[in-house]
Structure formats: structure tokens, C-alpha cells
């Protein structure tokens, strides 16, 4: 049984094709970097794998369950319980504090406010931003916001973390710090990570790299870097 599998996934936006029959497998515990130039379909693939977008054709399976065939509410529950999602920026709710933002997935799952806050504070502490618990996103730096977002993505202890250019909006030093924390915590929890990036250095943190080009997997792996298994 493959942990996460995409087979012949096709997705278009209007008349513009984004994915042209992509097939990819991800094993449990892997950290897979999906790389490629802008517009090659990396983010669309990630959104399809995470059940955010429904492909036009093909199938997505997570632990043998057809994700793409699930109704929206079930896919939402899957994202809340099994998956964590991390974007480049703008994912925190501006009106809520950092602790409330991190607690949100637990609150939506029915956890009590006090219990959810304790879990949120624990994760903020692990990410080194516990002192910002009662601060709103607008009062934080980009790096601090992204650490909060990482905490929110991991607070439910997901089995898979989908990260779309998680350090794309940060300077290289801050980006590296966030990425080191993300990879360390994912390894500690044995969380599988699918990471979209166009940065070769970021891809270097992965155990495997999948290179995309023009809406498909580049078999040569020469989109940005050679397709290599990093022995990490």
C-alpha cells in the first residue's frame, strides 16, 4: 500500500492546463521536495494531493482512500485531522492572536478552548515564539508569522504536511531557520512532508526531489537540479 499516490492527475484552469497527467508516489516518513520553474504546476499538484483542489481527471489516494472522490466536508476533515497545510504567507487569520490561530484546527475539531490553548502554547514554545502567543499577526515579523503557521500546521500532529513555498517570503537566514525547525519537528513526529519550492537550497533539506516541467514530471530531473535521494 502506497502512503500517498497520484495517478494521471490532470487539472486545468479554464483553458490553461496546469497538470497534464502527473503520477507520483510518496512513502510514509519521506520528505519530498517538488521543484521546478514558475508555472510548471508544483503548487497545483500540492493542492490536489492535499485535497484542496479536485483534479479534472486521474486519482489521488491516501492510504488507499480516494481523496479526490471524497465530498468537500470529508476532505476538510482529512485536512484537519491527517494533513497539515503551510503556505508562503497570509494564512494566519489577522483578527486572531497567535495562540488562537494555532489552536484553530483543534477548535474546529471540537477540542475545548482551554485544552486547545495549552496545545497551541506548547507548539509555539517548540517553535520559539511562545512570547508572541497573545500577539496578532499584523504585529509580528514575517519569520515569526511563518513559525506560527508551522506551529498551526503541526498542532494536530498530522501524518502528512503539505508546504507550499514555506520560506518563499522570508530572507535566506530566517528561511533557513524556519526550515530547520520544520524538518526537525517533522522528523520527531515521523510526519511525511511534501514541500514545494523553486529554491535548490530548500530542496536540499528533502530526502527526495521530484522535478516538474510544463505540468508534468520531468524524467530527467534537470528542471533545477538533478533528481537525487538525499541521505538525511
Amino acid at each position: 500500500m502506497t502512503f500517498l499516490r497520484a495517478r494521471g492527475v490532470v487539472k486545468s484552469y479554464g483553458h490553461t492546463p496546469a497538470l497534464r497527467g502527473v503520477s507520483v508516489d510518496v512513502d510514509e516518513g519521506e520528505i519530498v521536495a517538488v521543484t521546478g520553474p514558475s508555472g510548471c504546476g508544483k503548487s497545483t499538484l500540492l493542492h490536489c494531493l492535499a485535497g484542496i483542489l479536485r483534479p479534472d481527471a486521474g486519482e489521488i489516494r491516501y492510504r488507499d482512500q480516494r481523496v479526490d472522490a471524497l465530498p468537500e466536508a470529508t476532505r476538510s476533515r482529512l485536512r484537519r485531522t491527517e494533513f497539515g497545510v503551510l503556505f508562503q504567507f497570509g494564512q494566519l487569520v489577522a483578527e486572531l492572536t497567535a495562540a488562537e490561530n494555532v489552536a484553530l484546527p483543534l477548535l474546529f475539531a471540537g477540542t475545548g478552548r482551554r485544552e486547545a490553548r495549552v496545545a497551541a502554547l506548547t507548539w509555539l514554545d517548540r517553535l520559539g515564539v511562545a512570547d508572541l502567543a497573545d500577539t496578532r499577526p499584523g504585529e509580528m515579523s514575517g519569520g515569526q508569522q511563518q513559525r506560527c503557521a508551522v506551529a498551526r500546521a503541526l498542532v494536530t500532529e498530522p501524518r502528512v504536511l503539505f508546504a507550499d513555498e514555506p520560506t518563499g517570503a522570508l530572507d535566506s537566514l530566517t528561511g533557513e531557520q524556519v526550515l530547520i525547525q520544520l524538518v526537525r519537528l517533522a522528523r520527531e513526529q515521523r510526519t511525511t512532508v511534501v514541500l514545494v519550492t523553486h529554491d535548490v537550497q530548500v530542496a536540499g533539506y528533502a530526502t527526495r526531489e521530484v522535478t516538474m516541467r510544463d505540468g508534468g514530471i520531468d524524467p530527467t530531473g534537470l528542471g533545477l537540479a538533478t533528481s537525487v535521494r538525499y541521505p538525511r
Binding site: V85, Q91, V93, E95, L107
Partner: protein, 500 residues
């Protein structure tokens, strides 16, 4: 999701969200006052004993004939309930305040794992809570006003029905029912908004250019008015219930109002195309392009005002009918009195005039409420487009050009739409009758009259009234646009380009 979490998330927001909550609460307060006032009027009990020489059972404790006479209370209550139409339209506009930011927040919730139902529930809860606060405040204001206005005059009569309270179940139904209605409407409106983890998409129900089809609705609405008199004899023979004809007229008026409001989409589009053809400056070009691109904004923002204008036109038509009838009757009575040699007593002839003045007052109140909705809609549309406006200013477009384009954008559809609403409203009563007559019997002995004479007079169109209403409607639109433009300066600050 636990109720405490739902409460926290539904009340999370910025100052704009707080403003939306306050405005929604205020509009619900007004709606509660209108409904409770109507229930209060209906709670007046009709005395069993005969109160006057004509045999009418009057509630003599009131100084106002609308409350004293049992036959008029239903109409008075209906007029008060009708006032809720512009108020609910105002509530609808308030719901749109800060909508983009709220929808972004809902998308954030979805990204954090909320199901589509949970995201909608948050929006519905926000409106429901705001509306409940409004209805509770409305109940408080009503009860306080009830106490404060209980002031009998020198003759011991009351100007308002402050000696009775609305029935308990009615009060509970109002205080709970209005928030439920608001929540339901929110849920329905949210059906057009797809909130996904990647953002918000609006489902547009209407595509393509608007057509003048709503004119058919106006024709359908006019049908009960036009056919009432020809069918009256047949209806009498069929022994149909008394309420059927008024209901048909009411539904006809609703259809006509819907036709005028939806027709404003076509008027906006046509006005936009016309402006494109004849406009010369950049302001008219901007306005014309906007009107053609989104012609439905006009019908949405002007809906309540147009409903008031249609009602005003109808009131002018009814006034013409009643005053003409009264004049004809008065002449006949005067002639009868002269022929029979007793003095003519004109007492009571001003009752209908006073009642019609009250109807005009109700129209005025409705226009004021509708103007509030118009202002909210204008301010919201300016704030929602602040980035685009700020970009235009940053590239050198003068603010006065933008202001002029907004004035054109509002006025171009408003002027013909107000005219159309007034004309349709004035024509509806004329569908029933265009002339009134009185039959005078002369030389009657034991019920047998020597001859009869019919005095007929055409009902005039009260152009002066229509003109005043029309000018008032257009002036209201222009005044509110001017007030709305106060938001333009703040919204075109170049800093707005940095707002996400």
C-alpha cells in the same frame, strides 16, 4: 465546533466588522420597533358597547382616528409592517459592510480545517448575534418608549396605544424571529459565496447584459389593478372571500416593485452604454464602464428607495382618487343641502386628507431609512474599491474626477429609475379607476325617486406631488452620494496600495 468557539470566531474582527455588527443591530432595532408598533396597534381591543350615534364601536380612549376606528387599525398595522421593507433592505446593505475582509477570514478558517458548513456557520452566527442584540435593544426601547409616551391629553385621550401591550407570543416571535430571519438570509446569501482554503469565489447567478424583461413583472403586477373593476360584479356573484381582492392588489404591487427594482439593472446598463456614446470626459467614461460591467449594483443599492418611490407614487394616485371623490361628494352634498334648505355640514371631510398626510409621512420615514441603506452601500463600494481608486490617484487621476465618476455612476440609473417607480406607482391605482362619480337622487318619496343625476369627474394626475416625490428621491440620492464621497479621500490615500 463548540458554541463558545463559534461565539469567539463570529465576533473576531476589525473595526469594520464591529461597524457591520452595530449597523446590523441598529437596523434590527428599527425593524423590531416597527413590528412591535404594528402588534401594539393590533392589540387594541374593540369595545363591545356601541360608542357613537352611528353605531360604530370606537376605542374612544385615543385621539387619533387611525387607532380609534377598528376598521382602520389593520391598514395602520400593515403600513407599519411595510416600513420594515426598507429597514430590512438597510440590514441587507449592512451585511455587505467589510464583506471582503470577512470572507478572507472565513477562507483562513477553511485553511485551518473548518468545513464549509462551519465557515458559513461563523458568518450566520455573527449576523444572528448582531440581530439578536438589535431586537433585544429594540424591545427595551419599545418598552421604555411605551412608558415615556403614555401621556393622556387634556381630554384624557392618548395619542398612541400606550395603554395596551402587544401579545406576549407576538413579542417573542418578533425578538427571536427577526434574528432567525436575518441568519437565514445570511445563509442564503452565503450560498453564492464559495469559501475555499485558497480564497473566496463568488458564484454569479446573472451573466450577460440585462434585458428589459422585468417590464413583464410590472405588467403582471398591474393586472390585478386593471381587472379589479371589470371583474368586481363577477367576483361578487362568486361569493369570494373579502380578503382576496386586497391580497391580489398587494401581490400586484409587490410584483410591480420587483419589476422596477430588477428593471434598474437594465436601466443602469442602458445608461452606461448611453454615457459611453455621449460622454466626453474621463469621469463619464469611468462611470459608463463601471455601469456596463456591473449593472446590478444600481438595482441593489437603490432597491429600498425605489420601493418607497413606488409606494409614494401609489399614495399620490390614491390621494388624487380620494380627494376627487371627496370633492364630487361634497358638491353633491352641498347641492342636496341647498335644495332641501338645511345648512351644509362639512365636518369629517378632512379625515382622509389627514390620513393621506400620515401615509406621506410614512413614505418620508421610509425614504430616510432607505437613504441610510444607500449611504452604507455607497461607502462600502468605495471602501471595497479603495485599492483601485488609490492606484488611479497614484497614477495622477484627480480625486474630483473619481468623485464625478461616482456621482455619474449613482445618478445615471437613479434618475430614470426613480421616475419609473413613481410613474408605475401612480398608474397602479389608475388601473382601478380613472374617474369617480356620485349618483344624486332627487324627489324621493318612500324610496322611489323622481330622477337621478350622476356627477362624474376624471381623477387628475397629481403632477405636483409626483414632482415633489421625484425631486425628493433624486435629491436624497445626490445628498447621500455627496456624504458617501467623504469616504473617497481616505480611501484614495496612496497608503491604501499597501493594504492587502
Amino acid at each position: 465546533m463548540r458554541p463558545s468557539v463559534l461565539l469567539r470566531l463570529s465576533l473576531a474582527g476589525t473595526r469594520t466588522d464591529l461597524m457591520r455588527v452595530v449597523l446590523t443591530a441598529v437596523s434590527m432595532l428599527l425593524a423590531t420597533l416597527a413590528v412591535l408598533a404594528a402588534l401594539n396597534v393590533l392589540a387594541i381591543s374593540t369595545p363591545l358597547a356601541v360608542a357613537d350615534e352611528t353605531g360604530a364601536r370606537l376605542s374612544t380612549q385615543y385621539s387619533n382616528a387611525l387607532l380609534r376606528e377598528p376598521g382602520l387599525r389593520g391598514g395602520t398595522a400593515l403600513a407599519l409592517v411595510l416600513l420594515t421593507i426598507p429597514i430590512l433592505a438597510l440590514a441587507g446593505q449592512c451585511f455587505r459592510v467589510g464583506a471582503p475582509a470577512r470572507e478572507r477570514r472565513l477562507a483562513g478558517f477553511r485553511l485551518a480545517g473548518a468545513s464549509p458548513r462551519q465557515a458559513v456557520l461563523v458568518a450566520v452566527a455573527e449576523t444572528g448575534i448582531a440581530a439578536l442584540l438589535g431586537t433585544l435593544a429594540g424591545l427595551g426601547v419599545f418598552l421604555a418608549g411605551h412608558e415615556l409616551l403614555h401621556r393622556p391629553d387634556r381630554r384624557g385621550q392618548l395619542p398612541l396605544p400606550t395603554d395596551v401591550l402587544p401579545a406576549g407570543p407576538g413579542v417573542v416571535a418578533t425578538v427571536v424571529g427577526l434574528p432567525l430571519l436575518a441568519a437565514l438570509v445570511t445563509a442564503l446569501l452565503m450560498r453564492r459565496v464559495v469559501v475555499g482554503p485558497l480564497g473566496v469565489v463568488r458564484r454569479s447567478g446573472r451573466t450577460g447584459a440585462p434585458a428589459p424583461w422585468p417590464g413583464i413583472l410590472i405588467a403582471v403586477g398591474a393586472a390585478p389593478f386593471v381587472t379589479l373593476m371589470p371583474l368586481s360584479r363577477w367576483l361578487a356573484e362568486q361569493d369570494v372571500p373579502n380578503w382576496l381582492a386586497p391580497l391580489a392588489l398587494f401581490l400586484g404591487a409587490l410584483f410591480a416593485a420587483a419589476g422596477v427594482i430588477l428593471g434598474t439593472g437594465w436601466l443602469s446598463y442602458t445608461a452606461g452604454r448611453l454615457l459611453l456614446r455621449i460622454g466626453r470626459g474621463p469621469a463619464t467614461l469611468l462611470a459608463a464602464r463601471r455601469l456596463v460591467a456591473d449593472p446590478w449594483t444600481g438595482s441593489r443599492t437603490l432597491a429600498a428607495l425605489l420601493a418607497c418611490m413606488l409606494f409614494a407614487g401609489g399614495a399620490a394616485g390614491v390621494r388624487a382618487w380620494i380627494t376627487t371623490g371627496r370633492d364630487v361628494q361634497e358638491e353633491a352634498s352641498r347641492a342636496d343641502a341647498a335644495a332641501q334648505g338645511y345648512p351644509y355640514d362639512p365636518s369629517g371631510s378632512d379625515f382622509y386628507s389627514r390620513t393621506l398626510d400620515l401615509v406621506d409621512l410614512a413614505v418620508g420615514v421610509g425614504v430616510v431609512i432607505a437613504a441610510g441603506g444607500l449611504l452604507v452601500a455607497l461607502a462600502e463600494s468605495i471602501v471595497a474599491r479603495r485599492r483601485a481608486y488609490a492606484m488611479l490617484v497614484a497614477t495622477g487621476v484627480p480625486r474630483r474626477t473619481l468623485a464625478a465618476s461616482i456621482v455619474w455612476q449613482v445618478a445615471a440609473p437613479a434618475v430614470p429609475a426613480v421616475g419609473l417607480a413613481l410613474v408605475v406607482g401612480a398608474l397602479l391605482p389608475r388601473g382601478i379607476a380613472t374617474e369617480v362619480g356620485v349618483v344624486r337622487m332627487e324627489g324621493c318619496v318612500d324610496g322611489v325617486c323622481a330622477r337621478s343625476e350622476e356627477s362624474v369627474r376624471a381623477i387628475p394626475v397629481l403632477w405636483d406631488h409626483l414632482l415633489v416625490f421625484g425631486a425628493g428621491g433624486v435629491a436624497t440620492v445626490l445628498f447621500m452620494t455627496a456624504v458617501g464621497l467623504l469616504f473617497l479621500r481616505a480611501s484614495t490615500a496612496v497608503e491604501e496600495l499597501r493594504v492587502g
